[in-house]
């Protein structure tokens, strides 16, 4: 049985600046990193448009600052084009490995960037400062950054699925953007409500993010309408 993602999830539209970014900046992002996005999508069984959309909202497709250093923001050290934090990737990937959900091909790819034995019971959770630094360094490579984000998104999307296998990209975005243990995810609105209800309880910064990805004329809408894959 297939999972499903419905688009749009809400009729609200993002602001005009973001719509312009989609037209002007997404071709640049895809020209530069398209191969990485498509490989990550294939290895995690994700629609590539989900990754393109998140990349556009997180960083407008930019991995580097003007001075050539990798973009790292906030206390969580959200890194690069997908603004993925070392702690989030570490925790989710460990669950994925221990749950037997990572294919040998995907595991080999991750291990080539991050030679940590996630299966070993002696590998600590949460990560030590040294392990976190190792993940942070790996995330500075744009190919691994996109792959790490895809692994996290795949799990968050599955966790968001209803009994009928319909995934809720809006719910996955709340955790991706605001953290795995964000209070909003414990509310009835999040657990049983539609996208408008999820937006209502989401942190301020996440409200606009959801509309940009799953709204009418948002990123998913744009990539699907224009058959960009």
């Amino acid at each position: 049985m297939n999972f499903k993602i419905k688009i749009p999830l809400i009729q609200t539209e993002p602001d005009d600046n973001f719509k312009t970014d989609l037209i002007k900046s997404s071709p640049v992002m895809i020209n530069k990193y398209g191969a990485y996005f498509r490989l990550a999508a294939a290895l995690t069984n994700l629609p590539v448009q989900v990754l393109y959309s998140m990349g556009m909202v997180e960083s407008t497709g930019q991995h580097y600052k003007a001075n050539g250093s990798v973009i790292v923001t906030g206390a969580e050290q959200s890194t690069g084009i997908m603004q993925i934090s070392p702690n989030m990737f570490y925790e989710v990937y460990m669950k994925e490995v221990r749950g037997g959900r990572i294919s040998p091909e995907l595991m080999a790819k991750v291990s080539s960037y991050l030679p940590i034995d996630f299966k070993s019971k002696s590998t600590p959770q949460p990560a030590t400062a040294a392990l976190k630094a190792q993940v942070l360094k790996a995330l500075q490579d744009p190919q691994f950054n996109i792959l790490a984000s895809a692994i996290v998104l795949r799990r968050l999307l599955e966790e968001s699925a209803n009994a009928d296998m319909t995934m809720r990209l809006d719910k996955a975005i709340v955790k991706y953007n605001a953290g795995l243990y964000v209070a909003a995810a414990k509310t009835t609105e999040y657990q049983t409500g539609d996208t408008a209800a999820v937006i209502k309880v989401a942190p301020a910064i996440t409200k606009g993010y959801i509309v940009k990805v799953v709204g009418k004329n948002g990123a998913m809408y744009y990539f699907l309408l224009n058959k960009i894959s």
């Binding site: 499903k4 599955e158 966790e159 049983t192």
Partner: protein
């Protein structure tokens, strides 16, 4: 069973159905080894 019994049975069934519906609705999907392989279909309604 008397009339009272039927009423109690009917009310119990309604309560149980509502509880099951709520449980299904709030229950998060648990990712499994198998579910990682399932493709994702996009239902696009422009």
């Amino acid at each position: 069973m008397g009339k009272k019994g039927y009423i109690i049975l009917a009310v119990s069934l309604v309560v149980a159905s509502a509880a099951f519906y709520f449980y299904r609705k709030t229950r998060a999907f648990v990712p499994t080894q198998e579910s990682a392989k399932h493709p994702i279909e996009i239902v696009f309604n422009p």
